[in-house]
Structure formats: structure tokens, C-alpha cells
Subunit: 321 residues, 2 copies
Amino acid sequence: MRYVVGIDIGGTNIVVGTVAEDGSEMLGLVSEPTISEQGANAVVGRITKLARASMAAARGHDVAGVGIGSPGPLNTTTGVVLLTPNLGWTNFPLRDRITEALGLPATLDNDANCAIFGEWWRGAARGSQHVVGLTIGTGIGGGIVLDGEVYRGASDIAGEIGHMTIDLNGRRCKCGNYGCLEAYASGPAIAARAVEGIADGTDTSLPKYVNGDLSKITAQLVYEAAHDGDDYALEVVKDTAKFLGVGVANIINIFNPQVVVICGGVTLAGERLFGPLRSEAKRRAFKPAVDVCRIVPGELTGTAGVYGAAAVFMRRTWGRV
Amino acid sequence: MRYVVGIDIGGTNIVVGTVAEDGSEMLGLVSEPTISEQGANAVVGRITKLARASMAAARGHDVAGVGIGSPGPLNTTTGVVLLTPNLGWTNFPLRDRITEALGLPATLDNDANCAIFGEWWRGAARGSQHVVGLTIGTGIGGGIVLDGEVYRGASDIAGEIGHMTIDLNGRRCKCGNYGCLEAYASGPAIAARAVEGIADGTDTSLPKYVNGDLSKITAQLVYEAAHDGDDYALEVVKDTAKFLGVGVANIINIFNPQVVVICGGVTLAGERLFGPLRSEAKRRAFKPAVDVCRIVPGELTGTAGVYGAAAVFMRRTWGRV
């Protein structure tokens, strides 16, 4: 049995684990803050330190390589990260830097691709032929797995589902466009919508959660207040479900997948979110497509990207996972 | 050299041709009105008559089978058309009826899939790896060709790009949903938007084209008036370009294809439509995805579906086109 180190680089944390080729176990799961403001070299140093710690935990096993998941856009062929505003990298040869540091072959892929490939391999979408997923956090990433392969498009950009326009004259998105799904349903967008309502004078207990400092309201706090029975917070969650439901309906009409998997902090909202989300998707999408599609939260909380990054290495190197 | 009969069944016309397996020629291109109100048997009779006429024109050549493109939803495995509101069919075993009538093996696929596969095989998207297309007429169909294969999804529904929501609180669509691309940019939707402006008192020469009978205004007449310099008609065309540009930007962000091909009557509007459409898509989609994507009108006017239906037969039967 061979093992592969999976590395998931996020804007906040780096997570690393060493994964068995049959996916049966993950050894040495370790994590540290990214601290991207210290520069690319410091981040690479932290990544290699974490990878060595993970491999040490897997001592005695045959570690064959490293799969890396990183924010993009990036080039999976050359292993270069073209641009990541969150990490501040431009044309950074991440894959080769990791290979040099660890003396192991490596592959590089988009973080959202890895997360959804992980959910397809070992998580909520296991064994399904066609899977499309969203990773909801600071932004909304997307991953597409068709016939068991990550679909990357002509230049590794495919899957930017968070930047699908759902309201052509709608909210401004960080990407510069108007009405992207991300502008409504990312973590910061959920918080921003909640704050707007409070600023408009809506009666809600939300300000109490942050001692009146509205800048501290987060999507997580909105879910918490909804859980505690705050009507307005519940309304914000329901609106989020509606926006996500529109996006998921579009995915269903376009891809007709067996599974739509939704990963990230938003899954903390549970059935309070997924119930109305499924209703909205069902109301909007074609029945014969909705009928064959499960809409589910991700199962591999915190490790989907690690499993997926390792799986991408296995697929590219050995032709299978 | 073998030949395959390609059959393109539309709500208005049936078009049939006999296509060489290398795509180098189409023999016996024939067409007749569908007249679906005469019932399924009459339509099958007309299809087989046209197929025999086409094969007669290809006399002396080896005709190996029949590829059929039909409105759906349908089942490509069983060859059954599940439901076509336009033709009035429910659970109709179209493929086997054609096989019995002609004594030739046949395949069935969605009409828009066939049109885009045809454009990929012999038309505007020839030789490209990933192609996504729209067929704009009474409705807006979509076709997805990835790695040279039609992508059909879990239950042959994939590619309903016309029913992608672009304005979640927008115009009502025939599908029951609100804000579908089709509700803005199909032929009837273009005409309806034009008529709404006239009803609001906009100054335009359009009513003169129909002797004041606004119910006779069509998308084609709008293009004609735009061509003749009518400012309002030009505005309707520009709005259409904007709506289509939003849809194309979504396609580019999701699929990162080499080509987006747009087929149907809308291509008559030419650069007056495609110019602003490309600008809108470029403004909205991710640069590294837009930069590698051509947005082009279909080239196989009236025959894309015939080429594509024949190509689907070849691919399914011989494993290649």
C-alpha cells in the first residue's frame, strides 16, 4: 500500500495529511495558520514543515508523492500558481518548490477542485458518476467531477460556479461583475446582507452577539442566532437558501448530475438551510433532472481538500484512484 | 466509405440528409413541414418518406444506419421520447419506430445536442476540445461537447442552458420558472420585448413592417428593422446581446471552453448582435477563460442537426466520428 501527502492551502489555514492509496486511512493530519503576509517563502517553509510532520506520523509507510491544492487561477500542467489575491502570489512555481523541498514528485490543482474530488472519492458524493460541488467560505469555489475525472476546461479555469450571474443587475461582486452567486451567498456576503437589514432598523438580537459592533457579524453568528430562534437571522438563512437554490437549479439544468455537494461553513446551518435550498432548486429545475439528483452537505469537514489533493496526485500519476 | 442518414426533427420542419462517415459530403438533403398536429404516426410516415428520398439520392452508397435528433426530454438508451410539448408526444418509442420502418439500426439524441455536435464535427467549432453551444429559436436549447463527446448527464437532461436563471426575480418563462435566459432571448421573447416597448409608446418603424398588427412582430423582423436603421429595433438587438452575453459569460466561467457556438435565427442579426454580446461576456467572465474562448455563430445553417444526428450514430455505433 502506497501513501500520498495531501496539502490543502487556504487563505487562513494550511491542512496536511498522509492518505492511503485506497483512501482507507489518513495519517498525521496537521494544520497551521497560513500567515500569507509573511510571503511565499515563509508559506512554503510552513507547508514543508507540516508535510514532514505528517510523513513522520506515517513512518514505515511508502510515501510516493505529494498532491497540492491551492487557490487559483493556476496551471495544473506547469504547476505554477498564476495569481492568488488572498495569498499575494503571482506566477509562483509552487509545485516545483514543494518537490525540491521534499524530494518527492508533486501535482498541483485548484483547491475547490480538490475538495469536490475528495467528496467524490471518500465523502458525500462517493461513487457517483457526475458530481458538481460548491465550497462556500470567503468566496464560493466550484468543482466539477464528470465520469470520475476532475473537469478543468481549456485552461484550468472551469468550475467558477460562484461567479455565475444569477441577477444580472444585482449586487456587486469582488470579481468586478454584478449579481454573481458569490455576492449573495459567500460567508462575507451573508454577513453583509444581515448587517444591511440591521442598518435598515430590523428588529433582531444579532447586535447583542457582537456587543453592538456590527463589523463583527459573521455568517456563523447568523446561523447561531437562527439556531437560537432569532426571526431575522432565520430570514437571512432562508434568503441564503433561496440564492443557493437558484445556483443549484442552474447546476442541475446544465449538468444533470447525480449529486450536488455543498461544502464549507454554510453547512453548519444544517437543515434550516438545506431544506429551503432543496425546495427552491426543485421549484426551478427540470423535474427529470431534479429527480435523479441528491443535494447534500459535504461529509469531509476540514479534510475534503486533503483527500482530494492526494487523489489528484494518484489519478495523474497512476491513472486511477 | 459508409453513409448515415441524419434526421433533424423540429417543431416546424423535418430535415434529412445522408452523410458520409468522414463528413466530406451530405447527399439528398430534403425537408418537409412537421405538421405535428396530424399525430405521431403521420410524422413518422413523413420522416421515413424523407429518409427514403434522401437514401435514393445516395443510391450506390452503403447506408449503415440512421441518427435521429428530436426535441426532448428523451432517453438515448431506450430511444424513447419522454415528452415533447411542441410535438405532443409522450413516451413515444421513436427510435424503434424508425428502425422498423427503414430496416436500419438507429440512434436517438436531443436536437440541441445534435446541432452542437454537428458544429463540433463539421462546423464553427470544428476540432475544438471543449465546446458549449446554444440553439436559439422558439426556445433556447443547449449542447455540451467535452473531449469530443456529447455530455448528457445522469439522465440525458444535461445542457438545458436556456433554463439557466440569469435574473432570479425576472421574466416568467414557459417552463414555469422566473428569469431563465430563454425568457429574454428566444425568438418569441425577443418579439415580446419589442412589442412591450411599442405598447409603452416608443417611437419606432416596427409596426409598419406588420401593417400595425403587433402580434405579427417576430425576432426576424426586429433584425430587419435594425438593419434598416430603426433605433428602437437596434436597442432591442443590443438588449438581446446583453442577455445572451450574461448567459455566455456564465458558460465561460463554468466550462472554460475553447468555443461557444450560437446557432439559430438569431445569427441573422450578425455582428450587430455578436459585437455587443462578446463585449458583455468579456466584461463579465474571468479573463483567463475569456482569452482562450471564441464566441462564434454556427456555420451549418439548417444542417447542423443533420450532421450531428448522423455523427451521434457513428460515435455510438463505431466508437468514433
